[in-house]
């Protein structure tokens, strides 16, 4: 089946695909987005039923391998201590994300110059700054101006509640004289652009039934669709096709009924995330591109960066009401963000405070940590933990390394028979040292806040939710896949806009940077429309 050609074809309707569709809509070009997932129904999200905590093991599991929804594709991550977490739907992984929304620091774009490691980006913070601001307005970001860890910025909404837990930890940071600040959060603290305000449900990473969290199905997409973009769901793209000149001319995909379809396009934009995008490129082989499309540099799939995470938890004497409030958006600390050679590693990390746990999660955490035994002492032990935990995740900067990569699995396929991605990843010595340092500092601040017991897990196995680096940006076609505005060096009408194009990872959650980059690339496309392929 062959459809009418379009001007722009976007593959993937997540954080980046949505922002691109919205931005390009004003050009009045014919824009189509193909997404393998469907629209979500917030009325069915876990927080609407009493078994909300349990659904994290079923249809809202973080790993597609456990979730196994029709629209999920399997990922072989056996060769990695960190497994991949994602979501496949309109909104992509923002359906599950915690919406912690810190920007990169200016220094994050200049690692080679400032710290002598990895590479500089071909663009800098100043270039992205207006797009960060534009994205903050579109997503409805809550936060507080004046953070000394950042250049000045103004956010559209006031900060979310710190709660008893946040206040307790803030006092601990103050005791040590360490930096902390209310988190920049893509969650509406007040009614915003037709979205209701956050009512502190708790489980943001199981979808937001209130619609306060800025998943792109409730932010960019409704406007983009209103402005004429066509979003075709349940369409899984198998490969990008090329013409005799080596230009992309469309895609082959499977529709909701599993029918093979062809879609022609003038411009193709990939927004399938740091694993889905290299998978698609590597699956698009031809005589002209025998090693995968746009892969003359051999860098497609390489330099995969997660952010190695640690989780540090403290148990307090006092109830902290931690089951109230957005899971991952409370306060954060960047005391150890910038490089300090005396620490024994380069670069640094952020602390992102987590709220406490609900009744089931408390029991299961107690089971796995050995703090809540079965048997006679069960209730006493449970009573000491429930509603008395607070903690944090640590987000460590991951440096790019060629051997950390996404390839195609020789055997595993998805339900349409398309080869699945395989992830191979090793934790570096630098990351290991950084994790050790962060766990020790995390315990120190929890104790300063009043924790009587602390424990930690590092690296955190399911924390492969930030997917970056697998089609990196650069000015030299030999050492990068896309140029400084997202256009593939080898295929000049093919653009990549997701986290694949990151040169380095920073030590913050990546989504606002992914979206700022997308808006900047969209603007570059608009500015260069007359001679886009030169």
């Amino acid at each position: 089946m062959s459809e009418e050609p379009v001007d722009v074809l976007i593959v993937g309707a997540g954080a980046s695909g949505a922002a691109m569709a919205w931005s390009l809509a004003e050009t009045r070009m014919k824009i189509l987005c193909l997404e393998q997932g469907d629209w979500m129904d917030p009325a069915q999200y876990p927080s609407t039923s009493l078994d909300w905590e349990t659904r994290q093991f079923g249809d809202f599991a973080l790993s597609p391998n456990s979730r196994r929804r029709r629209e999920d594709y399997p990922i072989n991550d056996d060769d990695s201590p960190i497994s991949v977490s994602n979501f496949n739907a309109v909104g992509g992984s923002t359906i599950l994300y915690a919406a912690h929304f810190p920007r990169f620091h200016p220094a994050d774009f200049k690692l080679r110059t400032l710290d002598g490691v990895a590479d500089d980006w071909p663009i800098d913070y100043a270039r992205l700054e207006p797009y960060y601001a534009q994205n903050d307005r579109m997503m409805g970001v809550s936060g507080l101006a004046g953070d000394p860890a950042y250049p000045p910025k103004q956010l559209p909404l006031p900060p979310l509640p710190l709660g008893k837990l946040g206040h307790t930890l803030a006092r601990g940071f103050n005791k040590l004289g360490w930096h902390w600040w209310p988190s920049d959060s893509a969650i509406a603290s007040q009614p915003y652009e037709g979205r209701a305000a956050c009512i502190n449900l708790g489980p943001c990473i199981l979808g937001c039934a209130q619609g306060a969290k800025a998943s792109t199905d409730v932010t960019y997409w409704p406007v983009a669709v209103r402005n004429g973009v066509e979003l075709r769901t349940r369409c899984r793209v198998r490969e990008i096709t090329i013409d005799e000149n080596g230009m992309a001319d469309g895609v082959i995909y499977y529709d909701a009924e599993g029918m093979e379809c062809r879609q022609k396009a003038e411009i193709v934009v990939l927004a399938c995330n740091g694993v889905g995008t290299p998978r698609l490129l590597l699956n698009s082989r031809s005589k002209l591109f025998p090693d995968g499309l746009a892969n003359r540099s051999s860098l497609v799939g390489r330099n995969l960066m997660f952010h190695p995470y640690a989780m540090v938890t403290g148990i307090f004497d006092e109830p902290l009401d931690g089951y109230k409030g957005p899971t991952g958006c409370c306060i954060m600390s960047q005391e150890f963000y910038e490089t300090d050679p005396s620490r024994g590693f380069v670069r640094g990390y952020s602390f992102e405070m987590l709220r406490g746990m609900g009744p089931v999660s408390t029991a299961l955490w107690g089971m796995s940590s050995g703090r809540i035994p079965w048997g006679a002492d069960h209730h006493q032990a449970y009573g000491k933990v429930f509603n008395r935990t607070a903690g944090m995740v640590v987000i460590c900067e991951d440096l790019p390394e060629l051997h950390n990569r996404v390839t195609l699995d020789p055997e595993l396929v998805d339900s349409d028979g398309i080869p699945a991605p395989k992830v191979s990843y090793r934790l570096s010595e630098n990351s290991t040292r950084m994790l050790e340092h962060s766990v020790a500092r995390g315990k120190e601040v929890l104790e300063a806040s009043g924790a009587k017991m602390t424990s930690a897990e590092a690296p955190l196995p399911p924390a492969g939710w930030h997917l970056m680096g697998t089609a990196r940006m650069g000015t030299d076609a030999r050492s990068s896949v896309v140029n400084e505005w997202g256009r593939c060096h080898d295929v000049r009408n093919l653009f990549i806009i997701d986290g694949s194009i990151f040169v380095t990872a920073g030590a913050v959650n990546p989504t606002c940077t992914i979206q700022a980059l997308t808006l900047y690339i969209a603007d570059s496309i608009k500015k260069n429309l007359a001679n886009l392929f030169d």
Binding site: S49, L50, E53, A107, G163, A170, I199, T362, H379
Partner: protein, 158 residues
């Protein structure tokens, strides 16, 4: 084939033994405010779990049978007739020979117990889903930021 034949239910004997094991995993609370997991009726919950994950049924059935065999060497009336301490000892002993049995039962018992409305209420919470009521939270005390505001800039210029 009937649903019953595809997914047979636990026998009455297995159900009684299972309830006893569940009460060992989470016993009644000493203040009497909460029954144990068996008394709370979590056998039904485990039954639902194995309907959805049929590979667990043989693990549980074989575990219960092995437990009964072990128990009869102490008391001919079987596991349910043992003292609480003996039950607990036998369950611990069983972990070596029936590896999946106790860990999976503990997991599903913890899940079933702590999402039960009666337990949630006994913990001092309202037995309701988070949505649509949400939660009230205390107002922010941003004066705590005063020392942080006084710090010089912490970022390096790129």
């Amino acid at each position: 084939m009937s649903e019953e034949m595809i997914h047979p239910r636990f026998s009455d004997h297995e159900e009684r033994a299972l309830a006893t094991v569940l009460d060992q995993i989470i016993p009644p609370r000493s203040d009497g405010r909460l029954p144990g997991a068996g008394g709370l009726g979590l056998v039904r919950h485990i039954e639902q779990v194995v309907q959805q994950a049929p590979h667990l049924r043989p693990v549980i059935v074989q575990g219960l049978s092995a437990l009964d065999k072990l128990a009869r060497s102490r008391n001919p009336a079987g596991f349910v007739a043992l003292s609480s301490q003996d039950k607990s000892e036998l369950l611990s002993q069983l972990t070596a020979s029936q590896q999946g049995f106790l860990p999976s039962l503990i997991f599903h018992t913890y899940v079933g117990y702590y999402q039960d409305a009666r337990v949630v209420e006994a913990l001092g919470l309202e037995a309701r889903p988070p949505f649509p009521k949400g939660h009230e939270m205390e107002p922010n005390d941003l004066s705590l930021l005063d020392p942080v505001r006084q710090r010089p800039k912490l970022y390096r210029q790129g």
